[in-house]
């Protein structure tokens, strides 16, 4: 009795952003993935980026799997909307080569993890 009331206190109903349930959100995610996947050959050609199609597809998969544990439907919807905005900018060539290369983090150096690398780079 008290447990049930506690559970009811912990959740609340909110207004949806776009999808009403998980199935709808899932189908939105998969169609976004399909649209990006089909656009990859044209991205490689139009922007002339120094990456192959294989590497682009791997990066696409990685970026989608980064958010695979998100459970809140509204958060999923917002991520999909942001992905659609990025896709629109990429398709219409409003971006430039540098903006597309940002996905690959070309100038990021990996943070030192073991003791000696941290020592050399001045972090204790």
């Amino acid at each position: 009795m008290a447990a049930r009331q506690a559970i009811q206190v912990g959740t609340k109903t909110v207004r949806p952003v776009l999808s009403l349930n998980e199935a709808e959100a899932r189908s939105r995610v998969l169609s976004l993935y399909k649209a990006w996947y089909r656009q990859i050959p044209y991205i490689v050609k139009d922007y002339d980026i120094p990456k192959s199609e294989e590497q682009c597809r791997a990066k696409l998969k990685e970026l989608f799997l980064k958010n695979k544990d998100v459970k809140d439907v509204r958060v999923i919807d917002l991520l999909v909307i942001k992905g659609q905005m990025e896709l629109r900018e990429t398709v219409n060539i409003w971006k430039q080569k540098g903006h597309v290369m940002v996905y690959f983090k070309p100038t990021e150096e990996p943070k030192p993890k073991d003791f000696l690398s941290k020592f050399f780079s001045g972090q204790e």
């Binding site: 899932r26 189908s27 998969l30 169609s31 993935y33 399909k34 996947y37 089909r38 998969k61 989608f64 799997l65």
Partner: protein, 154 residues
């Protein structure tokens, strides 16, 4: 039809018409000259052969099949589907059958499944909508779906 007219006009420009019947002597060309002119006429005829121009683009002339026409069977489609699935890079070294489930048996995730369905769309040349695609979880289902769409039945 047009080719014949062009040949006729090309020929008439090269060969001399025989003179009227009144004179007993008929002008003939020598054999060598005749052969050369014939060769030129044939080349002109081949050059303007319009059988192989489609919409202004030159293509090899169309040949119609003259044997038994190959009827597409369900086995053909199954072979094509298995070939595409084997070519998918995550599944090259895994033994597959028509009954193996993509997600449970072969260990793909939903994004890989979407990629496999997209490979099928590219192979067979028609769009598979997302509502249908999420139900196609075994190669057998894909074969059945494509046979329904392509009107191939036993």
């Amino acid at each position: 039809m047009a080719a014949v007219n062009i040949v006729r006009s090309a020929v008439s420009g090269l060969l001399r018409k025989s003179t009227t019947i009144k004179t007993p002597v008929v002008c003939r060309l020598s054999t060598v000259a005749l052969q050369q002119k014939f060769h030129t006429v044939k080349t002109i005829a081949n050059l303007y052969n319009n059988n192989h121009i489609q919409n202004g683009v030159h293509r090899a002339s169309r040949q119609y099949a003259t044997g038994p026409v190959h009827k597409v069977t369900q086995q053909d489609i199954a072979d094509r589907v298995m070939k595409v699935i084997k070519a998918y890079d995550k599944l090259t070294s895994v033994q597959l059958s028509l009954e193996s489930h993509f997600i449970q048996d072969l260990g793909l995730d939903s994004l890989d499944h979407v990629e496999v369905i997209m490979a099928m769309e590219d192979e067979f040349g028609f769009e598979i909508p997302d509502g249908d695609a999420e139900r196609l979880l075994r190669p057998k289902d894909i074969v059945q779906y494509i046979c329904d769409k392509e009107d191939v039945f036993e």
